[in-house]
Symmetry: C3
Subunit: 421 residues, 3 copies
């Protein structure tokens, strides 16, 4: 399991790669991930029909710049891959600044930051730059060069599985299509890697499937190719923006009362956090929760999607994410999955009157005391509410008892033959 410092180093290492929804930047990223956890890589050819979509051509880029009349690069892809609009078609022209302006994107309100822009599904080209830099450009002619290719190829994604005691799956999904943006989503990738390592050491109950995929088209491709597996996905979390210094935000699944929604609310309740209802906008929960699938998948972030000024700008750099925040995200997910794995539903096999716990060694023999212990109370609550539909977490919350006490009570009762799952 990676420490906070190691997760941060991983973010820094992957930061320079020029990721997009396809192309070699994605492959480089997955190769680094694959150094830490075994990855099964998928290459899906351009043109493949996936649900309502089609896998697009593959985009690769070698160089790009705008140079002044003296040949000096005033905008240079080699400095930051954010400078080129993602999926820009090749261009090699000389044009006036006036003509060029229609292809330039800036952020006038934060004039020293470079925005992140893409044009995946509409052929176009453009550059992103600081407003300050644009303001300083003199009129005149500029050489505009984008050495990119858009060609048949494939869409790449990676899967890692932590086998569990049962085949029912929990998915953890990270988008890997953003170039030099640290919180969105290199921090999410780093936390997912460390989480996968931690789970592997624990032989979890559920099978955990980690998905490293380009946003939207990646999730749609995975869903299109995994029709049968989807039925086994019982829970999931889309993980993004996992490293900024804000507190955690959980966005509920579209169902709103899925087990993962209860579990996340439970584990977050003792720390600063926010819980939001589902909205059909954000990360790949959009796809997993689309009404035809409607999976029990929520989204965990720190400061949420589009909720911070640095979002989708050059200010979302490795300094924007902290080792401590990534560790906190990781710890929260580990706790959540520990509860999720134990949050089972039982049936009381002795529902008429209370079973005699004492003769089974489950109850204090000395009566009359008023300080019944949590463990004994928990057994009574589990017996009273285990109807096959009410989960242990439901019972813990109704009883006002720690989940661990309720889980322990259920194990003891099951061992005594009083409960079945």
């Amino acid at each position: 399991m990676l420490t906070g410092a190691e997760m941060h180093a991983l973010v820094e290492r992957m930061y320079p790669f020029c990721r997009s929804i396809t192309g070699d930047g994605v492959r480089e990223t997955l190769a680094v991930v694959g150094e830490h956890i075994p990855l099964r890589l998928h290459e899906v050819p351009t043109g493949t029909a996936v649900l309502d979509w089609t896998v697009p051509q593959e985009w690769n880029i070698r160089d790009a710049y705008v140079a002044d009349a003296a040949g000096r690069r005033v905008i240079d892809f080699r400095e930051s891959n954010l400078h080129v609009v993602g999926y820009s078609v090749p261009v090699d022209e000389t044009m006036s600044l006036a003509e060029l302006r229609g292809h330039l994107h800036t952020l006038p309100e934060t004039p020293s930051w470079v925005p992140y822009r893409t044009s995946y599904y509409s052929p176009a080209w453009g550059f992103c730059l600081a407003q300050d830099v644009l303001d300083a450009l003199p009129d005149g002619d500029y050489r505009v060069k984008i050495d990119s290719t858009l060609a048949d190829g494939s869409l790449t994604y990676g899967e890692h599985t932590v086998p569990g005691q049962v085949g029912n799956e929990v998915i953890v999904s990270c988008h890997i299509c953003h170039p030099s943006l640290a919180n969105d989503n290199l921090a999410g990738i780093a936390v997912a890697v460390s989480l996968a390592q931690a789970l592997a050491a624990e032989k979890p109950f559920h099978t955990y499937r980690f998905l490293f995929m380009p946003g939207t088209i990646g999730a749609i491709t995975w869903l299109a190719r995994n029709g049968e597996r989807v039925d086994r996905v019982k829970h999931g979390v889309v993980l993004a923006c996992a490293g900024d210094r804000g507190s955690l935000t959980y966005k509920r699944s579209r169902r709103g009362d899925a087990d993962i929604d209860h579990v996340m609310a439970h584990v977050l309740k003792d720390k600063p956090h926010e819980i939001r209802d589902f909205s059909p906008y954000g990360y790949d929960e959009r796809q997993f929760c689309s009404p035809g699938f409607n999976l029990g998948v929520g989204s965990l972030t720190r400061t949420p999607y589009a909720g911070y000024p640095e979002y989708h700008t050059s200010a979302d750099n490795p300094g924007f994410v902290s080792p401590e925040s990534m560790e906190d995200t990781l710890d929260t997910l580990r706790t959540a999955f520990s509860v999720l794995d134990r949050n089972r539903r039982f049936v009381n096999l002795s529902p008429y009157g209370e079973p005699q716990l004492g003769k089974r060694g489950l109850y204090d023999s000395l009566g009359g005391r008023s300080d019944a212990k949590d463990a004994q109370l928990a057994m009574l609550w589990v017996l009273s509410y285990s109807d096959g539909a009410t989960s242990l977490l439901d019972i813990a919350e109704r009883a006002g008892l720690p989940f661990d006490a309720v889980d322990g009570a259920a194990r003891a009762l099951q061992a005594a033959g009083l409960l079945k799952e």
Copy 2:
């Protein structure tokens, strides 16, 4: 469409007619309404069985007074029709003041006002007068004369229909049985007339049926004679007290969550208003919402039923209602019916993953920006929640988006073949 001033003039014109649940005052009123909108008139004979009731004899009155020994009229029907208890049987007697008192009705707490009283279903006679006038009457004998007739005849009501694109109906019902009372319900009648004119100009989605009927027995008669039509009544509003200077009050249907209840709450939420739960007391919502029918019919008033001191007194005169209030009631209903007509339920035809909106020209091609527009968000919300049961208004409220944006999104998606109704 009548302006506020025109509606007020209509109230003033109808004010002197001596309306009751039957008789020529009702016919005069419907004749005036018929000058503005075409009315289909119904005459239902005395003795006709209608649900648990029977159409009563028709009441007409020509004159009535109480005169002192000198022949001076101390209570005079010619001054105000409120002076005679509605449905008073004929009388022509001389009696002492002491004997007469048992037939006199006053309002001791507002001693200058004349109350409104009726005795429809129990043969009786009486006069209503100001307490001040009563107090000034000297002892002695008085001539008591009511020149009325109770005889077989008919109950009269009128219907006006604004045809829609579908046969499903919205009813707007006004009682027309109150004599010289302006807010209750001449203002309601005037607003209904103007509303019918406005709707006719718009070719609405639903068919709108305006009912001008005497209270209780009129609604019961209509329901008894329209057994099949009732199944087509999907929504409705009972309109009364539409002109006083108080803010609007909407009383929910007995269902409590009918579409009209949602719509009215939605259109009222940005102005001072009150929403009340259903109660089986008030106007003809009592009949439309009786449990056997249980229609989605609410009641819109300004200050509600029996909620102002002038209620059912001579102080509810044309000065008590204002053109501005009637215009506000009218505008609110026009807005409400505009939402109601568009508040449809759709089914997402591409529910697995998000459909690719971009290839259909429904989505910005430039990605990365964080300021997605309402129109695009609205499409995602409509796609996510259109399951055939959730209405566009439900979606708008869940999304926190304007209804118009959600309605527009649904139209665009339907045009693109992504939704069906």
Copy 3:
């Protein structure tokens, strides 16, 4: 019906008996109860299987003490039966104080009080005493004598029935297994006795069954032996801690919305009180509400189970309970059962439009007044909501009308043929 003073005298009279879950103390107690109300006594032999339990051996005790070397009794059962742990096996030994300590129970925080302890299902012996007394005992040898017997015998409980107009039953259950503890539960027994007398004088609607049984094993025995009767138990109250000076606490049935839960909340709402959700810990509601039975049985106490320092100590003596508190508990239950007996469900036989109440003499003939009376409003509410599922209490609470008015309206409507049960 016993007065408060008479109930208190009954508590004092039963206080010295050495009750336990079996034995002659129980029989003495039931004999005293039987002086006031006829009791059917049951003796269930040792070894009888009852649900998951087995009726234990019968325990009787004649004497017990710890005596010092001089033969002086330093702990003496004859002073208080609390001094011996319930179900102590016989012992006759001499041992050092050090050895004896393992069998002694005290309350260090309230050093002058003697605790109440039992060991029903695990063979053991022990003494309970004040911490002050223990602290004063000199080292040395002590004679330890418990003259008890544990032998095959029977478990004893008593039933009293107040026949009603219908066979459906309301149970009132009191535990009778606690020795010298006044509030827990002699006050409950005394209130139950008086309540049974009061009900008998009234020919109630439901049949009321009073159960005087040892805690847990008694309720389990009754449930095991009354499989068919359980289906007739529609409502019930477990009555305990009925006499302390605190305000009333009602604990809901496990169902949470049983009729008895609504009724108790209704009758308590105008006095200081607390309502608690069900928990599977407390008195015999644990058994009646076990999920296999899940009866509509709540629990009424004043200060609840284990909620006062005197609970299960020698300080729960007759001075701890007051005549006024027992009268208040009694009055509350009488009111509750009066509502429960009348809280019926009707069906409106004339659901299409309002029935014409006037022709049936149920409605004022003079119209126009705005001060409609509760009785008339109540009839409209009953007609509107009587669908066979909604109770009169539901209607009263929805209408904001007194239950008595709604009940009276239902009777009048039923008499007029407009409602059926």
